[in-house]
């Protein structure tokens, strides 16, 4: 409309220019807010890589920047999964490392900025979150308009559901994957709307980038075909859809097979078959569409029925035939655990043991999205009202992801973007209606010219608009407060370094992990093998630079079960396993003194369960409970429990801290009787960190004189009695804030 008139000018500047300027400023502020809200951990602690998986990614990135790209792809890592090793180059998604490697090279070689690779890794996730906000803007703009886009961008920038995986230091695949997810969807919507081969190709390229970065690409592989399928069912097939989909599928599938880890999966695994099926279907539909445009209606109906029948029969028999022949892989375990929610619990303890695979209770949804969660259905309703092709996409995405997020906590991450988009649609619609005060005055002016009588201001209209606007401004303000609170309290802990408060309120940093890893690095031979539960594998590899038996990659269940068996068996059995695997040191995490609940004793049952899965005859979960079926460490603890290596390593000399009286385990709130203090024969204590969180034991060598290790220990003890030094143990005085 405005194009027909002369451009509106404000203070002599074209209004479009002002709009552009404003938009740019808003974008910069959004990106700034997104990045800054992710820096809590850097400010509170330091620029450090968080948690577990990021340590592996960091280590791989360091390898990439110190070696060539081809060496990286062919990397065989003999320092993990001892003695098996891991074909790391072929079993990782290289996108993340390549991205930060490229940034590092650009900064160093072109801009001559000698940045430490660690800082790039730490800050990569916040930087990409700014890009995510822009992609979300573009996507939402396609759904409604740029107003909704701006709202969606700011929601996306600060929604805790996304921040949870992208704070500074959380250098994980998801950090860039969500950006790519949004970009791929934006280009898909664009391609589908315009029917453009160009945008289809871009979709495929970003899809390729996504495949290289995150295993969650399967979500796109299934969502886009589903969207197309639903559109075809709704009778909305057109040439544009054909062009967009086939271009994306042909190029995207081919490109995705370039990633070594993915390989031939796209044509073999059933996860990808839906996309192939829809690809075939759309060829048939396009042919049918062509015929339909040429022949009379009735003839076409017969044609349709017959060909539909034939295609269905052929398709189903083909699928069964190929599966029976073993040409296409059976549905993978993680896939099952999404649909049949009991599958994982029964069949794969290793999946069930990961807390990220647990179902989501409602507080998590509210915690991660606050008010957006109740604007979400309203947005979906508005999408139904309009129901263009792209709105169908929002609806399908919303429902599917709501289901997935309900089944698995970690998929909250993929739900958050669509909640932001949908909520932004609802809220911007509301603002469109209530922010528009121009209409009132326009009406007023036209009224005035007719009747001079009605001179009163439209007070009611203005007031009602004001009420709505003020209340929603208030909610939005609260939303920002909520997001900041959640980010600062829940999502900004590196979990490598813990914070607690002294009695006087000052902050105390608990740095036991790094203390212990550094000890390992400095005091053990470089080829020492360290056995620990798989949670700590990546950290030991990254920080201590020592060979580990198992790590967070969890590709070999038997090997993990072996470690679990060593931990839960008695000393004799465990020693055999330790010797067989050349283990030099054993590391356990013990929170009993500090009250740190994520310690190995609390994870112990999973070790038992996983090893019971492999050795059902030798390990029985029931044996680790008391008579009454309770999980206890005090005097009631079962014999098997007290004999287990884990128990012994955790509570070895624990009661010495309490001057020979009963010790108190502060995690489980149980007393450990002094009389029950365990004796270790095959291991000797090598290092215990300041707060006793990490304890490292050295595996004893076979005895020189050929004695049993038990006798040897007993003998040593006797001789020591005469010349016993008093071991001074300092007890730290602090409380861990939980």
């Amino acid at each position: 409309m405005s194009s027909q008139h002369a451009p509106i000018r404000v203070l002599g500047v074209n209004v479009e220019t002002i709009r552009l300027l404003l938009r740019a400023i808003i974008f910069i502020s959004i990106a700034g807010a997104a990045i800054l809200s992710r820096l809590f951990s850097v400010i509170r602690f330091e620029s450090i890589i968080h948690e577990f998986d990021p340590w592996f990614n960091f280590r791989a990135t360091k390898y990439l920047v110190s070696h060539s790209f081809y060496e990286f792809l062919n990397w065989f890592d003999d320092r993990t999964w001892y003695p098996l090793g891991r074909v790391t180059g072929g079993t990782l998604y290289p996108g993340l490392m390549v991205t930060s490697g490229a940034i590092w090279h650009i900064l160093r070689d072109w801009l001559a900025l000698p940045v430490d690779i660690r800082n790039i890794c730490v800050l990569l996730a916040p930087a990409f979150s700014g890009l995510t906000a822009i992609c979300t803007y573009l996507l939402t703009k396609e759904m409604k308009d740029s107003n909704a886009g701006l709202l969606a961008a700011i929601f996306m920038g600060i929604a805790p559901g996304y921040i949870s995986r992208s704070v500074a230091g959380s250098y994980d695949n998801e950090a860039i994957a969500i950006t790519l997810l949004m970009a791929t969807f934006y280009f898909w919507i664009k391609a589908m709307k315009l029917g453009s081969v160009f945008y289809g190709t871009l979709t495929a390229l970003f899809y390729f980038y996504m495949v290289s970065a995150w295993g969650g690409y399967v979500f796109i592989t299934n969502l886009i075909p589903l969207h197309v399928f639903v559109l075809i069912l709704m009778g909305r097939y057109n040439h544009r859809l054909y062009t967009a989909y086939t271009t994306w599928y042909a190029l995207g599938t081919l490109a995705s097979m370039q990633i070594p880890f993915v390989g031939f999966l796209p044509i073999r695994s059933n996860d990808h078959m839906a996309a192939l099926g829809v690809f075939g279907l759309i060829q048939l539909v396009s042919f049918g569409d062509y015929v339909k445009s040429k022949v009379p209606h009735k003839q076409f109906n017969t044609f349709l029925v017959v060909s539909l029948f034939l295609v269905t029969v052929l398709g189903i028999s083909g699928l069964f035939g190929l599966t029976a022949l073993g040409w296409i892989a059976p549905w993978t375990g993680r896939f099952y655990s999404l649909w049949d929610t009991n599958y994982a619990k029964i069949h794969i303890p290793i999946i069930a043991s990961v807390s990220e695979h647990q179902p989501t209770a409602w507080p998590a949804f509210f915690f991660d999205t606050n008010m957006l969660i109740w604007l979400f259905p309203a947005g979906l309703y508005l999408c139904f009202q309009e129901l263009k092709d792209e709105h169908v996409f929002v609806i399908i995405y919303g429902v599917l992801c709501a289901y997935f997020a309900g089944v698995m906590v970690r998929l909250m991450l993929t739900l958050t973007p669509i909640i932001c988009v949908s909520a932004a649609i609802a809220l911007s619609k509301l603002l469109d209606v209530y922010l528009n005060i121009v209409d009132i005055f326009k009406q007023e002016v036209s009224d005035k010219s007719k009747k001079i009588k009605s001179q009163t201001l439209p007070i009611f209209q203005l007031l009602s608009k004001l009420i709505v606007l003020l209340s929603f401004a208030f909610y939005l303000f609260y939303f920002v407060l909520h997001c900041t609170w959640v980010t600062s309290n829940a999502y900004s802990s590196p979990s490598v370094v813990l914070a607690s408060t002294n009695p006087d309120g000052s902050q105390l940093i608990i740095d036991d992990y790094r203390e212990a890893y550094y000890w390992l690095r400095m005091n053990t031979p470089e080829d020492a093998k360290v056995m620990a539960w798989w949670d700590y594998g990546y950290q030991i590899g990254g920080m201590a630079d020592r060979t580990t038996l198992v790590d967070n990659n969890t590709w070999n269940n038997t090997h993990i079960a072996t470690v679990g068996k060593a931990m839960c068996s008695n000393e004799d059995v465990a020693y055999k396993i330790l010797r067989q695997h050349d283990v030099d040191y054993v590391l356990v995490v013990f929170g009993g003194l500090l009250g740190y609940s994520g310690d190995d004793i609390n994870k112990f049952l999973w070790m038992v369960r996983i090893s019971e899965g492999i050795w059902p005859d030798e390990v029985h979960e029931r044996d680790y409970f008391t008579e009454r079926g309770e999980y206890k460490m005090d005097h009631e603890a079962s014999k098997t429990m007290q004999d287990s290596l884990m128990y012994k390593m955790s509570y070895y000399r624990f009661t010495d801290l309490f001057n020979g009286r009963d010790g108190i385990d502060r995690v489980r709130g149980q007393t450990i009787p002094a009389a029950q203090s365990p004796e270790l024969n095959v291991l000797e204590e090598a290092f215990t960190s300041q707060n006793w969180m990490i304890r490292v034991y050295k595996v004893k060598d076979l005895d020189n004189v050929g004695r049993d290790l038990k006798q040897a220990t007993a003998f040593d003890k006797d001789t020591q009695k005469t010349t016993k030094r008093k071991r001074s143990v300092k007890k730290p005085i602090l409380d861990l804030r939980e």
Binding site: V197, I267, Q299, V306
Partner: protein, 135 residues
């Protein structure tokens, strides 16, 4: 397109022969519907040949060539085996990819410049990836 017409005709011929054994009324009904099917296809074909322009003809010839090439590769794999699986996949998918890109081009023939540019762009990427894939 041409390939599919042939394939569907073949399928009809097969089902047609197998259906002839069924009892009278039903077979009549079925043959009736098949008659209509043939009629539909012949109408389409006639319409197709009348609206054919040289440019479209070029595209269609290329399409037929691609289909033939794809079928040839498939037959080779069935007869000889799929040893360099990468190479087969690369070759086959380049056929399929080029085919769908061409069909897209054909559907967008109304805006030739833009769609041809897109087509070139996508084809270049396709063949670059194929080249990378077959090593």
């Amino acid at each position: 397109m041409a390939k599919k017409e042939v394939a569907i005709k073949k399928a009809q011929a097969q089902t047609g022969t197998s259906a002839s054994g069924v009892s009278g009324v039903q077979s009549k009904k079925i043959s009736n519907s098949f008659g209509e099917l043939f009629a539909a296809i012949s109408t389409t074909y006639n319409d197709y040949s009348t609206t054919l322009t040289p440019r479209l003809k070029l595209i269609d010839l290329f399409l037929v060539f691609l289909v033939a090439l794809g079928v040839l590769q498939f037959v080779y794999v069935i007869l000889v085996g799929n040893f360099p699986f990468n190479a087969f996949l690369g070759g086959f998918i380049s056929c399929v990819g080029q085919f769908v890109l061409l069909v897209s081009l054909r559907l967008q023939i109304k805006t030739p410049e833009r769609s041809f540019g897109d087509f070139i762009f996508a084809s270049l990427i396709l063949h670059f990836v194929v080249y990378h894939f077959i090593n």
